[in-house]
């Protein structure tokens, strides 16, 4: 079985405790949009696709989530899914789900948003030959296997990164049935209680028939059902604009007249444009960070929240040297997390002592406990119990060289080296080499590992990272007890029960310590003084500066 992973660190964002920084606005004299139009200017990066199911990364999704309405929307304070296009999502057994869609909803082109609109979208994404990044979200739906046979042998593909398939006859997920025009029945292949929590994600958005008929046109000028719509095509290099859709019937309308996205590619950032008022929400880069924080006027317009993204030092359990749990614990205890923070910027991270961050449903258990607390003496004792470190050998720490990863892991390595008295070597690799090496179990020392959630459930930090068996996950971790707990949680009758079972699984994981949690991330977004009601979504906000565009207003 092939497992997919979110390779693009995406879907970033933050703590449920949405710190809603109030806007202490004085009547600013600069930056106010001249014409009086309430257009908000946002920054954006490389967009892969603007059709649901095709993006799977933060940049496409930050547009898609405003141009489309999903069945549910994640409440920005609690993270709970709340019905948006859906009237009701229910199931007697967590396996057959009935979704009732609200009446009278349409796409921008007038087509109705009905059960068919969802079925055609989900069928497109689940159909293997379309090779869409969010295909794996439908693996739980009955009939997925018929649409996803094994691909042709790798050496016959024209492009080694794009799988090819023999013609697949089945083009419809057999688990999806339109009971009537507005009722959709979804049969899963196994009970999954968390199903409704996934429905607010891009993979489950509807698609208009006109869009399927001409995908290329729709890619440039998406036909959504959300509060914003495109009038002009979007341009990958130059960005694009949306305007408020006046006929929007849904529950989360836009308050502003439109949004303009400006593209910043690698090596370029929005900060200078933010200072001139040309971009409304932006994060300072490391170089501008201190100046920004020292500016009293700017800091009245700062949103600082915990981001559910986490950073870990994972262990190669497939390597003979790392079999003893005490060695792994010793390395974790040897990291002075607070000290490292002072080196790399204290506002950017917070020390993490758990496998699931507190902002996620069921998270914040502190399962790593004493082993994530700096204690050089304790670490040395544990190392001695594990039989010590081989004389004259260096501890190799593997890291991909993007951003300032190398600085962060050098500080971590220094800390380990100092506490345990062993030498270390930092081995850096490019991301595109690092990823296959990590997946292929070729790294012979602790390695950098990060995770951003796909949806708000502690399961998302447990199963996708550590499940699937030793041959599948990056650490080579396998514990039947753990897998059994995960399976039991998936079949639980209520969400509370499931969350509790997942927490038990997390405890097993913590005892085995396949990774050492190191940091949780924080973000710092500034906004211009023409904006009000600026909120950042705790689960889904784009990196580099983003806010809830349906709620933001312009003075």
């Amino acid at each position: 079985m092939k497992r997919m992973r979110m390779t693009v660190a995406a879907l970033a964002a933050v703590g449920m405790t949405a710190a809603t920084a109030a806007c202490a606005g004085d009547e600013g004299d600069v930056g106010g949009g001249g014409g009086g139009d309430a257009i908000v200017n946002m920054q954006i990066g490389d967009v892969r696709s603007l059709i649901p199911g095709g993006s799977g990364e933060s940049e496409g999704f930050r547009i898609i989530k405003n141009v489309y309405d999903g069945l549910v929307y994640y409440n920005r304070e609690t993270g709970e899914p709340e019905n948006l296009a859906a009237e009701e999502v229910s199931s007697p057994d967590n396996q057959t789900w009935t979704i009732k869609i609200k009446e009278g909803l349409t796409f921008h082109n007038g087509e109705p948003v009905n059960a068919e609109a969802f079925i055609r979208s989900w069928d497109r994404t689940a159909y293997a030959p379309n090779v869409l990044p969010l295909n794996y979200f439908f693996a739980t739906v009955e009939g997925y296997d018929a649409m996803n046979p094994e691909p042709k042998p790798e050496d016959t593909w024209a492009d080694p990164e794009v799988p090819e398939y023999d013609p697949v006859e089945t083009t419809h997920l057999s688990g999806l049935t339109a009971i009537d025009d507005l009722t959709l029945e979804v049969k899963l292949s196994a009970p999954f209680l968390g199903f409704p929590t996934m429905l607010g994600y891009e993979a489950f958005y509807p698609i208009a028939q006109e869009c399927l008929d001409d995908l290329e046109a729709c890619e440039a000028k998406p036909i959504g059902n959300g509060p914003f719509m495109f009038e002009e095509p979007y341009d990958i290099e130059a960005g694009g604009s949306v305007v408020r859709w006046e006929d929007y019937q849904g529950d989360m309308p836009a308050q502003i007249d439109g949004v303009n996205w400006k593209v910043y590619l690698a090596g370029d950032d929005c900060w200078a444009d933010f200072l001139t008022g040309d971009i409304d929400v932006c994060r300072p880069t490391a170089a501008d960070y201190q100046n920004a924080m020292a500016d009293e006027d700017l800091t009245t317009r700062l949103i600082q929240q915990e981001d559910p993204s986490i950073l870990m030092l994972s262990f190669p359990l497939y390597d003979a040297k790392y079999q003893d749990v005490n060695l792994r614990r010793a390395i974790s205890m040897a990291i002075d997390r607070e000290g490292v923070l002072n080196v790399v910027g204290p506002e950017r991270f917070y020390p993490l002592d758990t496998f699931v961050p507190a902002s996620i449903l069921g998270g914040g258990q502190g399962t790593c406990g004493e082993y994530c607390t700096y204690d050089p003496e304790g670490a040395k004792d544990l190392l001695a119990q594990a039989g010590g470190w081989p004389e004259g050998e260096k501890l190799k720490i593997w890291v991909n060289d993007a951003n300032d990863n190398v600085d962060i892991f050098r500080a971590i390595g220094d800390s380990i080296s100092q506490s345990l008295g062993i030498e270390y070597e930092l081995v850096t690799m490019e991301w595109t080499d690092y990823l296959p090496a990590r997946e292929g179990h070729q790294l012979d020392g602790p390695f950098r590992n990060g995770w951003s959630p796909d949806y708000n459930l502690n399961e998302n930090y447990l199963e996708p990272i550590y499940g699937g068996g030793a041959s599948v996950n990056d650490m080579g971790y396998e514990n039947p007890e753990y897998d059994a707990k995960i399976a039991a949680a998936g079949a639980a009758a209520t969400l509370d029960e499931a969350v509790a079972l997942y927490q038990e699984a997390e405890a097993i994981l913590a005892a085995d310590m396949p990774s050492a949690p190191v940091f949780g991330e924080k973000f710092n977004y500034f906004y211009t003084d023409r904006l009000e009601n600026v909120y950042v979504h705790p689960i889904y906000s784009g990196p580099g500066g983003d806010c809830e565009l349906r709620e933001v207003t312009v003075k």
């Binding site: 004299d29 024209a158 492009d159 080694p160 200078a272 001139t276 070729q442």
Partner: protein, 336 residues
């Protein structure tokens, strides 16, 4: 004249052919000596399956046997590539599979606009300063001009750029907008970053900055050329006829000093491309310089070759224009 133009164009084509071949040959040599880049695809240390390697080689266009013989010029793949270029097929990028011709359609106009402002800046500023210095030879003005242009040229372009973007641009933009408003020309022109909504206005300042590359060289060239003419017989005659100094400068001195100046501009044009790489990167302009730089970083071999070919075409084209301009400026030069 017509025959000369044709001959010159044919020569240009030949030069271009040689440049393209050299580019190709260097790439082929690097494959032959350093090893097959297709294996890089598999992460270096892994020994890929032969069939998969062959597949990647097909993808990169490296499946010709000549790539295994060191020194082989690989003429067949070269001819294939030229053929593709002629039919307008410039290939696709490895990352994202985008049509290179389409990308060039976006990038080239941006760089051209940048060069328009850069050339204008270079020509106007160096002409004024060079002429001024020549007329006041050996005096304070002459020394000042020579000193400041050397100073301006000694400051690396990236430093000028970074100080502009991070120190000057933001307060200047805010100030201008406070007076003239955001949507005005002045409200946009000083912006720290290029903006596709104002493709001309926001490229002026980057253009001026690129134009400072080679300012000292150009000013000195102009000064020297004019000094030579100022001491010549026809200027003395003009003075004796009682012509006004301004007329002597414009009609007799400047026109006759154009030859080395035009040569210099043609030469600096190629030089400016290096300034464009930095400027386009720092100020967020999606242009050719930035494209080539990123292509090198991402190992987009095809994009690098196409990008360099395009700049070779531009340089050859500019030098043809320069040759033709000689005749226009100096009546003594006649092409038969």
């Amino acid at each position: 004249m017509g025959r000369y133009v044709i001959r010159r164009l044919l020569q240009a084509l030949l030069t271009l052919g040689i440049v393209l071949f050299l580019l190709h040959y260097l790439m082929a040599l690097s494959v032959q000596i350093r090893g097959n880049p297709a294996t890089l695809f598999f992460g270096g240390e892994r020994t890929p399956d032969a069939a998969m390697l062959a597949q990647v080689e097909r993808l990169y266009g490296l499946d010709n046997k000549c790539y295994e013989r060191v020194g082989d010029p690989c003429l067949v793949p070269f001819a294939d590539r030229l053929q593709q270029y002629v039919t307008g097929d410039l290939g696709t990028t490895l990352n994202g599979n985008r049509d290179v011709a389409q990308l060039l359609g976006i990038y080239i106009p941006n760089t051209l606009r940048l060069f328009v402002f850069a050339t204008l800046t270079l020509v106007i500023v160096s002409m004024v300063l060079g002429t001024w210095a020549a007329r006041h030879r050996g005096r304070f003005i002459d020394h000042t001009v020579r000193g400041t242009t050397i100073l301006a040229d000694s400051v690396p372009v990236f430093l000028i750029l970074l100080s502009y973007v991070y120190i000057v641009a933001v307060p200047l933009t805010r100030w201008a907008r406070g007076i003239w408003g955001t949507e005005s020309f002045m409200g946009q022109v000083f912006r720290p970053n290029y903006n596709p909504d104002y493709p001309w206005i926001t490229i002026i300042v980057p253009g001026i900055i690129v134009g400072t590359v080679g300012l000292a060289t150009m000013t000195r060239l102009i000064r020297a050329a004019q000094l030579e003419n100022l001491g010549s017989d026809f200027v003395r005659t003009a003075k004796a006829k009682g012509l006004r100094p301004m007329r002597i400068t414009i009609v007799h001195v400047i026109r006759n000093s154009m030859i080395p100046i035009i040569t210099g501009i043609g030469f600096l044009f190629a030089f400016m491309l290096s300034g464009a790489v930095l400027t386009e990167g720092v100020m967020g302009i999606p242009g050719m310089g930035r494209m080539i730089f990123e292509a090198v970083q991402r190992q987009e071999a095809n994009l690098v070759i196409v990008g360099l070919s395009v700049s070779a075409v531009v340089v050859v084209f500019v030098s043809v224009i320069v040759d033709l301009l000689y005749a226009a400026f100096d009546p003594r030069i006649r092409y038969e």
